[in-house]
């Protein structure tokens, strides 16, 4: 996951085989835990550890096609 929409759109323009759409959503504590796992070349990369059995798709909607 990326925290920034611009970064996400850039990601699929660089790596087109990752898909052509970006999903955007807001997570809260009921969805699990997340942590910024950034690096110099990917400053908004975030890792999400979902709660077991949580519907992982539910918080997200497509923002571009």
């Amino acid at each position: 996951m990326l925290r920034n929409l611009t970064d996400a759109k850039h990601l699929i323009r660089v790596n087109r085989r990752l898909g052509s759409v970006v999903y955007q959503g807001e997570l809260n504590t009921t969805h699990g835990r997340s942590k910024l796992t950034s690096s110099q070349t990917s400053p908004t990369h975030t890792t999400w550890w979902p709660v077991v059995d949580v519907d992982r798709a539910a918080p997200f909607k497509v923002v571009n096609g």
Binding site: H10, V14, T41, S42, H45
Partner: protein, 389 residues
């Protein structure tokens, strides 16, 4: 893999383990990195991953190319597109399995990065203007098209920057700060059809005048929002809503394609817009709509004026002056294009009277200067006229 490479097989041993030397882009692992091989330095791009094998495109590279990639002077695909490249399949255990020598054309388009995309998001141009038309290819772009793109981008941004900073100027913002937002460095030229991409000035060029990077970004966003409003209007000019200001119409006037000639569409994009990946097209239909709206607006807001006076105050950065002691007994703030700079500055410096013509805003009295001439001095003696043009 769902694509088979038909080009000649290469010796996979030449690639060693294809271990990254410098990781340039990562997402769940390195995706773009440099590596050393028996053939020299390589730029590796992860083109595909089928769950068991990673397929890399490995392009020969060097320090200069990598610097251009990292500074946004060259797009990613451009740097990968070398006379030959290798395709290297690597197992999930990190051991290369097979290699082929070919060209980028051997890969499916959707396994390659987009044509224009830069290595990192912040390297994308702040503003890019692309001319689309038949025959606009490398070696055949007329100077008139080049001039139209540069003039169009610079003048349109200047008009909007002036509007955005009008209030700030009244509060003492330095005019040369505003100049940083329209006289932008060219980042690259691209022949797809023909595009000029502009980047933010590097900090050393900005002389600290444009404030902090956050302030500069906020200012560009404000200019981008205003321009986006104009472009949205241009896409549907008949839709009801607030009419565009004359400044925004004049900005659009500089960006629309001419009704005749090689360029049929201008396409705009850039980080100054809310969606940095959006494309805004201005067609010849847009040109007609802008011209009509501008004619209507000018009929009630402007008049063509000719005024003589003295240039008493001259702003080198904002390209404006104040005309005083005029024949219409009013002071006028006048804006002028760069080609009049030398003449006007000389007249300011030597206190010569000047006659200017241009569009006068009826509300503010400001004049957009389009003609400048020196006033002929009265003939004092029968010895002849002064030699001023």
């Amino acid at each position: 893999m769902d694509w088979t490479i038909k080009s000649p097989i290469a010796d996979v041993a030449n690639f060693g383990r294809l271990d990254p030397v410098e990781v340039l882009y990562e997402y769940d692992g390195p995706r773009i990195f440099t590596a050393r091989s028996a053939m020299g330095e390589l730029l590796c791009f992860l083109a595909d991953d089928d769950g068991t094998t990673l397929r890399y495109i490995a392009a020969p590279t060097n320090h200069d190319l990598l610097e251009k990639l990292k500074t946004g002077t060259r797009a990613l695909r451009d740097v990968l597109n070398q006379p030959w490249v290798w395709f290297v399949d690597v197992g999930y255990d990190g051991v290369p399995i097979a290699a082929w020598q070919g060209t980028l054309a051997d890969a499916p388009t959707d396994a390659l990065p987009h044509d224009e995309v830069m290595l990192w998001p912040h390297l994308e141009p702040i503003f890019a203007l692309r001319a689309v038309g038949d025959g606009l290819a490398e070696g055949s772009v007329p100077m008139s098209v080049l001039r139209q793109i540069i003039d169009g981008a610079t003048t349109a941004l200047k008009k909007i920057a002036n509007q955005v900073f009008e209030e700030a100027r009244g509060h003492g913002r330095k005019a040369n700060t505003i100049r940083q937002f329209y006289d932008l460095p060219v980042q690259s030229f691209a022949y797809n059809s023909f595009e000029v991409a502009l980047r933010l000035p590097v900090k050393s060029d900005m002389l600290g005048a444009a404030g902090t990077p956050d302030e500069a970004h906020a200012a560009f966003s404000a200019i981008g929002n205003r321009l986006e409003t104009a472009l949205t209007w241009a896409a549907k000019p008949d839709q009801e809503g607030e009419p565009l200001s004359i400044e925004l119409l004049e900005a659009l006037e500089k960006l629309v394609p001419p009704l005749t000639g090689i360029v049929k569409v201008f396409e705009l994009r850039g980080r100054m817009f809310a969606d940095a990946n959006a494309r805004y097209a201005l067609t010849r239909e847009s040109s007609k709509s802008v011209r009509k709206a501008l004619t209507d607006a000018r009929a009630v807001q402007e008049q063509i004026s000719k005024v003589s006076g003295l240039v008493r105050e001259f702003d080198k950065d904002a390209l404006s002056f104040t005309l005083r002691i005029t024949d219409d007994h009013k002071d006028h703030v006048c804006r002028f294009p760069p080609e009049f700079y030398d003449d006007l500055y000389e007249m300011f410096d030597t206190d010569q009277r000047v006659t200017i013509s241009g569009r006068e805003n009826l509300k503010t009295g400001e004049i957009d200067v389009s003609v400048v001439s020196r006033e002929q001095p009265a003939v004092e003696e029968a010895t002849g006229q002064a030699n001023l043009s």
